[in-house]
């Protein structure tokens, strides 16, 4: 595998997520989420102009002039015509009216369950992780969850989680190597990125995956999508995720 630069990886992940958003969906991301932020703004200007974008900052459909690295920043209220509170957004998810939530995991298993809590014992952990934020509440209640993770190795994609922080209606998992789709509760490789061989995905994944020469290649970003990403994110805030 010739490993591309992180901008290329980031662009591929952004477009894979952006293309999966459907027109009219209400889409939410939380803390520490630059890639979902750019993906949602890209979808609004390309494939899904009527996506409704909400974030922890509370602005509904913000038109941020300059993108922050912190995805709670007041800049994500800029250009909004209305605003809601964080509590409102959790309520929206709880009652089943949130269409899409972007979430992540330090560990992810074959069922797309996530661990954001601990390595080792919960009460006296070997490694205390940041915590799942809203994941455990949102993932079972949002209609679809899209997971993204900027690292793909056997320590991330594991057979057995140290702790199940969250599980729920995961649709896709997008990584620097591939796009997984959850089918009948289990992750399957839907497409591999152009720079990855099938056996490299097998080697990088701690659970069994079926991937072969017939597995489709993820469509690379179009020139329109690349132009969109550069205009939305000229300073490359998504690169802070790598």
């Amino acid at each position: 595998m010739t490993v591309p630069d992180i901008q290329t990886i980031s662009d591929q992940m952004v477009v894979a997520l952006a293309r999966s958003l459907r027109n009219g969906e209400i889409v939410f991301h939380g803390v520490a989420s630059p890639i979902p932020m750019v993906a949602t703004l890209l979808a609004q200007r390309t494939s899904a102009p009527d996506v409704v974008y909400v974030s922890i900052a509370g602005g509904v459909d913000p038109k941020p002039g300059c993108l922050p690295v912190s995805t709670v920043d007041p800049l994500l209220r800029g250009g909004s015509r209305s605003a809601v509170t964080l509590t409102d957004l959790f309520d929206l998810a709880a009652r089943g009216r949130l269409d899409v939530a972007f979430l992540s995991g330090v560990q992810i298993d074959a069922n797309a369950r996530t661990n954001m809590s601990v390595i080792g014992d919960f009460g006296r952990p070997k490694v205390r992780l940041p915590g799942g934020a809203g994941s455990a509440a949102i993932m079972p209640r949002a209609k679809r969850t899209l997971i993204w993770r900027t690292k793909h190795d056997p320590r991330v994609f594991v057979e057995t989680l140290d702790f199940v922080t969250a599980t729920g209606n995961v649709d896709l998992v997008v990584t620097p190597l591939c796009v997984f789709r959850r089918v009948s509760g289990r992750l399957q490789v839907e497409s591999r990125h152009s720079w990855v061989n099938p056996d490299e995905i097998v080697a990088a994944t701690g659970f069994r995956v079926d991937v072969n020469a017939g597995t489709p290649v993820t469509a690379p970003p179009s020139s329109t999508e690349i132009t969109g990403i550069r205009e939305i994110d000229p300073n490359g805030v998504t690169l802070s995720e790598f």
Binding site: A32, I56, V72, P74
Partner: protein, 279 residues
């Protein structure tokens, strides 16, 4: 002027110093912290807790960063009830939080953010618990002893989050009058829930203003909840303050960098408690 039938002269000013306000907080108190991640946290109040060498505090917040990391680093916190502790992708993990939890000095009482909200709502409404949707399939309810109750109508089970009743909420606001009628601009996060749930509320304010200047309907916080008001320009620092200043990432980085090494952390904390807020 007349406000709600009371003359201002008859209402008692709640203006006090930061030192006096924080001095009312006892060791082992449950302390709710306003703001979210790098934004509008009560930075000045957090530094004063460190200065006064408080001990045994349980911190409550949905998503914290420098505040929780600092109070763990300084030995002020003994438990953290939060959904997320970290500096997002700006600076990553919170190393002092991580180190003190791993060494057993601090108990990480992980929440799912919405469960903090549910616990605060129970406190606000004077009920012992709040049912909450979600959490299905998560190990958190068992690990945190969040129990299931039967819906008395349908018989279906639902997770019941116990009331979270903070002894004090520390909230930094844009403006307050001397009685605690206050305005927050931009994202409010869980601050109003904290104000209503806590037994006492300490406001630090960028600016103290004459409350008669407020449009009643635009006032975010009512004085009826507020115990003390402190004039505190740049009082969110090193957190950002919407409309005033951005997060001071360079300052936060010093705590993150020192975080793995208790000696370096002590030196950093000494420099903080003796340092004035940069203006």
């Amino acid at each position: 002027m007349i406000r709600g039938g009371w003359t201002e002269e008859a209402m008692q000013s709640k203006l006090t110093t930061l030192s006096a306000a924080i001095g009312t907080i006892r060791d082992d108190a449950i302390v709710a912290l306003g703001g979210n991640t790098l934004h509008r946290g009560p930075g000045a109040a957090v530094h004063e807790l460190v200065r006064q060498s408080k001990r045994g505090l349980e911190l409550v917040k949905t998503a914290g960063s420098y505040d929780i990391d600092m109070l763990c680093a300084a030995g002020v916190a003994s438990a953290v009830s939060a959904g997320y502790v970290g500096y997002e992708t700006v600076l990553g993990m919170a190393p002092s939080y991580r180190r003190t939890v791993q060494s057993g000095g601090v108990q990480a009482q992980e929440h799912a953010c919405y469960t903090v909200i549910a616990g605060l709502r129970a406190a606000i409404q004077g009920v012992p618990f709040m049912p909450v949707a979600g959490l299905t399939g998560s190990d958190l309810p068992a690990a945190r002893d969040f129990r299931l109750v039967a819906d008395p109508y349908s018989g279906e089970s639902v997770v019941a989050i116990p009331a979270l009743l903070p002894d004090v909420a520390l909230i930094h606001v844009h403006q307050s009058d001397q009685f605690g009628n206050a305005v927050i601009r931009g994202s409010i996060f869980e601050d109003l829930l904290m104000v209503q749930a806590a037994k006492t509320v300490i406001l630090t304010a960028e600016e103290i203003v004459d409350g008669s200047a407020f449009d009643t309907d635009a006032t975010t916080i009512s004085s009826l909840y507020v115990s003390a008001v402190v004039e505190s320009p740049r009082g969110a620092w090193p957190f950002g303050m919407d409309g005033h200043y951005a997060p001071d990432v360079d300052h936060m980085l010093k705590l993150v960098t020192a975080g793995g090494d208790p000696l370096a952390v002590s030196a950093f904390i000494d420099s903080i408690v003796n340092e004035a807020v940069p203006s």
